[in-house]
């Protein structure tokens, strides 16, 4: 595992490294930090701040009782593939007062993952709206919490009313393999959309 800076993998690298990025969006406290941490090879680029009284009424902490800190900057992760391609993961700030950062994060992103908490589905509506408006390919991943009721993906799709071609899947942001499947789904969706647009 490589810590710190990008290092070229051993062996010949005929082409310069290719830097790409994915966005991880979703409501406050939905597990974006956990998801990025499950698969990244670098420490997150973030500022954890204590939830203070200043945030009361601003940050809705209903049903996130266990969360005492929140990410005020952004989550940042990196995966270096043997081919030399580097994939960065950027978590979008969960609170609406940080929305000014979204356009820059979204610029040039391959795709996005909207992480949802089935106990608080409306929290991810604004992320879905944003990516629909921007025409950024995205998938919805419902993160499993120990006390969340079990729904299947079709129920979640109905509740969110997303387009039928948008993949909706269940995940556990703590498990690397599960996170990997979510990332694969998002890039595969972007590729499928690209191919169908090219055919038109």
């Amino acid at each position: 595992m490589v810590y710190g800076r990008y290092e070229r993998p051993a062996g010949p690298a005929p082409t310069p490294p290719l830097f790409t990025k994915l966005l991880i969006a979703g409501g406050f406290g939905v597990g974006k930090t956990t998801l990025v941490g499950s698969i990244s090879e670098v420490r997150p680029l973030r500022t954890e701040e204590d939830l203070s009284e200043l945030g009361v009424g601003v940050d809705d902490t209903t049903s996130v009782e266990l969360k005492r800190t929140t990410t005020v900057a952004m989550d940042f992760g990196r995966i270096t593939f043997p081919s030399g391609v580097v994939l960065y993961l950027f978590g979008t700030p969960g609170q609406e007062r940080f929305w000014f950062m979204w356009d820059e994060l979204a610029f040039g992103a391959l795709a996005a993952v909207v992480l949802a908490d089935t106990r608080r589905l409306p929290d991810c509506f604004s992320s879905i709206d944003y990516f629909e408006r921007r025409d950024t390919p995205f998938v919805v991943a419902a993160n499993h919490f120990d006390d969340s009721p079990v729904y299947d993906a079709a129920d979640i799709r109905d509740a969110l009313d997303v387009d039928s071609d948008v993949p909706v899947l269940l995940c556990d942001a703590r498990r690397r393999e599960s996170v990997k499947q979510v990332l694969i789904a998002s890039v595969a969706h972007a590729l499928a959309r690209h191919q169908s647009a090219a055919r038109r």
Binding site: K21, F81, L87, G108, L110
Partner: protein, 122 residues
């Protein structure tokens, strides 16, 4: 600001506030550097670095070989906004060069395939 900054107490926070190292500036001169744009030192002699603060020098040291802005901020352990301003200063003095790497390739089929292949073999 060093890694072991002093804290007066909980309310006061670190003695050196992040934007103190930028002298209060929150926006860089010139074009904003993207998160995955590559920053690299121009390899000039240290005489060109006169008048730079310790954070400028630290960033300069970290970009001897090409590094993305996000990695630079992560390694320097400074807030992204602060790093942007300082990188803007270094760029203005032509001590570093910046190569944009985001944007144009995002909807390229070859790029999408290579990322997908990479993820599948993780």
């Amino acid at each position: 600001m060093t890694g072991d900054e002093q804290w007066l107490d909980r309310e006061a926070g670190p003695v050196v506030r992040p934007y103190a190292v930028t002298r209060g500036r929150t926006r860089p001169h010139g074009v904003t550097v993207g998160l995955i744009d590559l920053v690299v030192s121009a390899g000039r002699r240290s005489a060109d670095a006169r008048g730079l603060g310790p954070e400028h020098r630290r960033l300069l040291g970290l970009c001897c070989s090409p590094i993305t802005l996000a990695d630079l901020a992560s390694e320097a352990d400074l807030p992204l906004g602060v790093v942007r301003v300082l990188v803007g200063d270094l760029q203005e003095r032509r001590l570093i060069t910046v190569a944009a790497s985001s944007g144009e390739s995002s909807q390229n089929e070859k790029v999408l395939r290579s990322v997908l292949d990479g993820l599948r073999t993780l």
